[in-house]
Subunit: 805 residues, 2 copies
Amino acid sequence: MKNNQFAIVSNNLKTKKLELEKLNFLDSDTEKIDKPCTLLKEFLLKAFLDTQSNAIKGQKISAILASEDEDALSYLDDNEPLSKIAFYNIALQLLGFQVGLDFEIDDSISKMKEWNLPIDKSKDPMSTDEVISAWYLLLNTHNKYGQTYIDYLASTGYFAQNYNKFDKPLIFNGKSMPVYDTNELIREVVYVESPQDTDFDGKLDLLKVEVLRPKESNKNQVPVLFTASPYNQGTNDYSGEKLTHEVNVPLKHKEPVQYKYDQIKFKDEKKALPAQRTVEGKTRKAEQTFDREASYTLNDYFLARGFAVVYSAGIGTKESDGLRTTGSPEETIATTSVIEWLAGNRTAFTNKVDNTEIKAWWSNGNIAMTGRSYLGTLQTAAATTGVEGLKTCISEAAISSWYDYYRDNGLVVAPGGFQGEDADVLAEETFSRKQEAGDYMKVKDQWLKQLKQITKYQDRETGNYNTFWDARNYLNNIKNIKADMIMVHGLNDWNVKPRNVENLWQALKKVPVEKKLFLHQGQHIYINAFQSIDFTDMMNLWLTNKLLGVENNANELIPDVTIQDNVKPETWNTYEDWANADENIEYCLGHDNSLTDVANDGQLSFNDHLDTNTFEKYTQNYTKWRKDLLTDQSAMQNNRLIFKTKPLTQDTIIDGKVDVKVKAASDQNFGMLSFMLVDYGTAKRLTETPQSIEYKRINEGFLWREDSLREFKLQKNTTDYKKITEGHINLQNRTNNYSVDDMEANTFYDVEMELQPTFYHLVKGHQIGLVVYATDFEMTNRGNQDVNYSIDLKESSIEIPIFEK
Amino acid sequence: MKNNQFAIVSNNLKTKKLELEKLNFLDSDTEKIDKPCTLLKEFLLKAFLDTQSNAIKGQKISAILASEDEDALSYLDDNEPLSKIAFYNIALQLLGFQVGLDFEIDDSISKMKEWNLPIDKSKDPMSTDEVISAWYLLLNTHNKYGQTYIDYLASTGYFAQNYNKFDKPLIFNGKSMPVYDTNELIREVVYVESPQDTDFDGKLDLLKVEVLRPKESNKNQVPVLFTASPYNQGTNDYSGEKLTHEVNVPLKHKEPVQYKYDQIKFKDEKKALPAQRTVEGKTRKAEQTFDREASYTLNDYFLARGFAVVYSAGIGTKESDGLRTTGSPEETIATTSVIEWLAGNRTAFTNKVDNTEIKAWWSNGNIAMTGRSYLGTLQTAAATTGVEGLKTCISEAAISSWYDYYRDNGLVVAPGGFQGEDADVLAEETFSRKQEAGDYMKVKDQWLKQLKQITKYQDRETGNYNTFWDARNYLNNIKNIKADMIMVHGLNDWNVKPRNVENLWQALKKVPVEKKLFLHQGQHIYINAFQSIDFTDMMNLWLTNKLLGVENNANELIPDVTIQDNVKPETWNTYEDWANADENIEYCLGHDNSLTDVANDGQLSFNDHLDTNTFEKYTQNYTKWRKDLLTDQSAMQNNRLIFKTKPLTQDTIIDGKVDVKVKAASDQNFGMLSFMLVDYGTAKRLTETPQSIEYKRINEGFLWREDSLREFKLQKNTTDYKKITEGHINLQNRTNNYSVDDMEANTFYDVEMELQPTFYHLVKGHQIGLVVYATDFEMTNRGNQDVNYSIDLKESSIEIPIFEK
């Protein structure tokens, strides 16, 4: 257990008292109490719910141990001076820690220090003001289950026992409190008229939007969290899988061609649009409702805190018009259309036929976007338009350029785990209009045509960057961003690879908005239910600032860059920047022996072909393939080169993009190379996925949606290596990814490329390995061709950016 | 997809109409409709919620395809004769099946037959009465997600759109409908005074009881589901694990002793009790509430249907008095105390100090119990007292005798997966009073003393049945049962082994109550969210009958014995009885070659000792051990004997208990034997655990608790064998499990025992295997002793009970 809390606001005693009054812990009576023990008992009585009798509260207080031999009730009733140790003995039990299991009585303060739980400054024994101050801090302290004590109290009904007694919104320590009754949420559907006709039916596309908002929004406008999720009206898993591409296909020579970027640049041609619908009536009352939405627990958390939450799946999804495009400008427009409606700048209707307009009259016009993966991607897409009303994005594991999702340096490179997927597959998977047969009938022909076009222009033949991909490259428009950006990404995310966030992070530096970056040790996951970091609290602080305009120091309290350590569990370090190291170490593959495996300055070769059995086995079992790829003696030993540094003489942190330069040849007139940087060294490493610590332990409000508490723990057993990063290149894309260079067999070419960016803590004694290979079973096409690759060691090297403290 | 629905009540047209009126599908207007299409459209309009506009409903109807080229809206508006195929095209889509994916349009009726979905008898085209009848049946038909269409409609808000419009309770097709607002549940705690003082503090034990009940129960009394769960106030996992017994200990010679049962029989001696508390006041208002309870989704389902749900953890749990005993009569009394309070026959208080009485004035006095494992066990325990008010039990994976949970024929035999656990460990694990330090302080000494006693009397030294275990054998009191019993058990449950339910089933035959048995292919699991069987509907039918007194044919519609087939997925067959086969096949280990592996009538031997490496490996990896045990050439080949029949010439079903007779010797003056019956044959078998088909797809009401739909599917790959059943015996318990027979080294003894009961479908061509061994790594002690066992083949045989159709 190690707590990392950033979102605690420092306040003076006066503010603390005022805020405790708003929470009903203090009032004119309690403020007169002059005995510290009496005051603490008063706080405890309130914590155990006003709706319960004093006898019950007494039972609960006496169940807490205050000292070796006295329970809290008798200790506090004795009214001796309140010792600091007794306060924290009690506090730890309130935070869910168990005497005898988690800590020993009277050992509370040292344990809190060990766990990094904040302790209020106070003398011993404590004064009443010190009790107030310590109680205030306790309410903002994370408990054993990764929630602040006040959030825990909320989940026991602290606010729900009488919602009317509290301000709405209620800001406590800079964050919005769950004072809204989630049983009374209004759930309504509207249809936003998007300024495009993507299904070519002669009418502007109407897009289904699901709104959840507190009933209080009928009186006072509220901020909005908008999640654009193409998945949330259902997916076509079966037909998507059927469309998945065969990847056991050979690599071929590509016809050389040199382009200037402008020749392949996407130019947005304004098409003639159908007329907007004539508004034939206006109403404030929606006509359609919905049941259980596909939700994100972070949104659920904010629903209890007075934020409206809006979901929309976009063009081509169930009950909407239009066709799917996989990330094209049309999808951006679909996304911004909803934001424009929420900000009062676009029309929505109550249904698809009557042309009765309905405004987002309950919205305060301040919108944030949330969500991960495709849902994060559409945030970046929307932000790059500078659309009015979008104040901030919390963009997690987002794609910044779809080429970086499905391709790499002139190669088809699948997102990890999704071999054979491509833009067309994803379009089919998310085209949920198909699930309504009566609707699909009307659009089927147009859809099949569209799908064919996507398949054609995504161009799996060459793997080159082209106009299709340029249209789906949001990096072209970062300069337009007006929203403050939170970016979250997994350093082990091989689905949406880290380049996506790094490019965005770098490009944003020139843009005058606030930006914050979180890099965690997960793969393609959410981090809002981690035990060791108060991510959810930080987002509360952030959105309370950005959407409610509360001055709470969010910009300063939330670090610019927060990176989870890959060696020590539960450790989150803060930095000023990422992937901007001044220092580099160069390792040469040959002549200076800095990569020790190699004894000479000559050439080394490997072949890319495997016997059929081994090949088949690897296609079924990537773990086995990766193990053989990275292990010295294995079935792969003639199919790759491994170079290793000498054991590191000190802990070393790689910060950013490793640059690889090789002089390489193929014995064919085509070829590809893959590079994997590896941490060789026996160690207990973090689990690949976070472990569930407490199933459904987190309640996002009171008897509301639940989440399971998670954390990365050290694996039970040691492992001998871990992949750090990787990269792939088509040897005919040496110049760039949209031109094709010539290539002849058995000719050496200089190839230079950057691996995916990382931030990796290498432990002293470990070795850095560089593995050079061709076919990547998990990501590249797998022709199993008899191709020999040679590397000229003297002319080959890697440059590793090093973080200097 | 294969549907097995038992809980559909046959009604005549008049009843159907009356019931559809209560559901608001029919009224004086709709009953006048004389066009079948118009009537069906009317039903559809109502299905899509009255609260939505006609435009929205029209959108939704037109999203359904009625024929190859016409959507449902235009089809129905045309008002041509309504074809049966169009009706079922529409019906299947309403049930969540997708055109093009699950079925082709106009292929609906044959698909429904294939999936075993009920089709109403009607002519083609359909009359209005036939539309009524078919709609009625459709509402009761399971959809793609294992719920009836009316339950699905409820989850979209059908009843919630206006709860006031519906009767409460509302019975439809014999089952209670979810017409209660789960947002308005009353949650209150009371303390029942149990007639015992198990913590010896001089006061009767007060037991915390959590009540959830619909607000309507303030006006009209409701039936109650009571779940007695020792786990639901928390568990001491860490200290439980610390207490877990070392199992790598040697087997020893036991001093021979012969008892008559009466000598070890438990005699319940009435102790002098403290006086009952003097009632000092009476109230109808509870003083304590609670937040998220540890719930069971079947209970959640019934909360939406107007049943109250009550949880109590019993003596020694958090906020209750008393000490844990692991299944002794004291725990039975703790359980029945709550039932007595619910039936008006025992006192409860609002808190632990004021002596203010609170009655269960909102209870109709009809109580059912629910829950699995320990929770099921306490049902059996309570039922054997004949306690008034307990009308029925739905007892799942329940222990009927604790000796059968922790012991077998004079051996310590762990519940599968829990090596080293015993009665004392479970007592410690469930002693959640420990979690409140202020309370624990007061009872700690008493508890440590109690724990020591349990450790002593459970007697791991001999493994014999004794008075301790006889006190925990509910089979002694089956004759007292007055409650109708539903029993559910997994045929692959090696935690609570099948003997527990079989003994109960057989003993109940003489008791004049209704009894129903469900045997599934799972391990230790719940079956209320399976796709292929309407278990939840049946329980609804059952409880609506037993607790609300509705005459709905529940006793007849629910089969006496329902057994899931282990070969064909989604197949549930019904039988009159279980483990009562007339036919037996005897296989002799030697002389007649019926177990083919053996060529002679002599003796075969094996040794129980393994080299340290292998031993260590097996202690860490039971799967590996089991594989080696059952595979011909393996590291275990000298450590067990495998006998196999010739391939079966026809499909064969084992029904009940296999009897094993062996003449065996050990080269020591002690010994144990284990027997495993195995299905040898290469086949795709069912997955060991049910697979999640749709995550959280089942909503137990409207925006209420959710469950994931599950099903056993065939495994992707074939396997070569599957364990059918097993048994273990101490060679010194040849006479019975409470006496100790003498034993000398190298002397042959006749040993006879029954393996755990089963119901197993063996496929033609497979072989029955009998594996004879000693140490069971997963269950017995593991001394790794150098003991040689010999079997005299001529005098050894097994007798297999065969189910004859």
